[in-house]
Symmetry: C2
Subunit: 225 residues, 2 copies
């Protein structure tokens, strides 16, 4: 997530107040395009797809942001729940969107995040259907990865999150939910993009949902021993 | 820790980059004197003793800061390792400074923190002597309290931290180290005050070392299940 320096304190504070959706792995200095987590990469070119926002409106997607880069842009690297999916699979827990060859489904919930200054917005969640007898294991395994969203925020009962139709996600793709599987919801790093939209930030850049920055940092580095 | 709004982003970023010494429990909005963690208290009066800093110099201690308060002051509530001492004692691990009726000894180390903008400074640690056969237990118990500094950063070998004389702490009081006990070092919340001193922040307020804000939040709220 990239915002102008004038908004950087509020975004960092928003992350501090909402650590489940916004686990901060690194913050670059204003204007920097590489650094911790990114290594010698370039944040302007290394993501597969970017979402641009202007004045609180979506302004399209693009495969690099070289032409809109500003010297006062501050880059935040946030953890992604894709990181713990290998651990789920190793424990024999199916990850539906991988098995079905689609993007993970994500939903804007009716739960407001804790605001920070001018920034406010709803919690966004990702959903994975988990067999009822593996829900406890999925909770325990993902709780060991707090830097990539950690344990679920909600198990079953999507209506309580304001989600009326699981087959119509706000971002990503719908997945089939097999019988005997519960929809399990994890806090999602698209949350600050929803806040940027709702709060009228003059200009901001995020990853297009599901089109993540892939780094050289191995998964185990984000596992609590 | 209280700094002017102009320094708040850098302090929050310093905390993000140095989470062991600077675990942020809450950040109040500029000018606010109560809020999360503080409840209906008043940060200007509720600490037993304050340290004032001006232009990177210590400017004395005081029992309230009503007369120096500014509308642009941003308050950071940081976790304190005193919180996990009850858990150590419940497990039968002696806490020397409590048993000896003195303040915990704290040391400026030779290890630099990760800088953030204009803010830089050394890691400060607190020290508790732990019986050799309980060091592993002390590590495990305190690791469950990451929000109040968590597991130790260093066990034994004080010279490696640049500490030449354990009997001459930089803050707090010296403690007797019984035979068969190892000096065990935890990251300390005085660290951002050392940074404020070193970085020439125009005005800042901290707790006087060892004179903590005592809240109504129970210890278990900061324990990882």
């Amino acid at each position: 997530m990239v915002v102008p320096r004038d908004w950087a304190f509020e975004l960092l504070l928003f992350a501090q107040r909402n650590p489940k959706p916004c686990p901060v792995l690194a913050v670059l200095d204003a204007g920097e395009v590489s650094g911790p987590v990114l290594g010698d990469g370039d944040v302007r070119t290394d993501l597969p797809l970017y979402s641009l926002y202007r004045e609180g409106e979506a302004a399209g997607t693009r495969t690099d942001v070289l032409d809109v880069w500003q010297d006062d842009f501050v880059t935040f690297a946030l953890g992604c729940s894709f990181t713990f999916e290998a651990a789920l699979q190793e424990a024999g827990i199916p990850v539906a969107h991988i098995d079905q060859g689609v993007n993970v489904p994500m939903y804007r919930t009716s739960l407001p995040c804790e605001p920070a200054g001018r920034l406010s917005g709803p919690l966004v969640v990702s959903m994975r259907p988990i067999p009822a007898d593996r829900v406890a294991d999925a909770v325990r395994i993902t709780s060991r990865y707090p830097a990539v969203h950690g344990a679920p925020v909600h198990v079953g009962a999507p209506g309580e999150l304001g989600i009326r139709d699981l087959s119509a996600p706000d971002y990503g793709d719908a997945v089939q939910i097999p019988a005997g599987h519960l929809p399990v919801f994890w806090a999602c790093g698209v949350t600050p993009q929803a806040a940027v939209l709702e709060s009228g930030v003059p200009v901001a850049i995020g990853h297009a949902p599901g089109h993540m920055l892939v780094t050289d940092v191995p998964n185990w580095r984000y596992q609590v021993p």
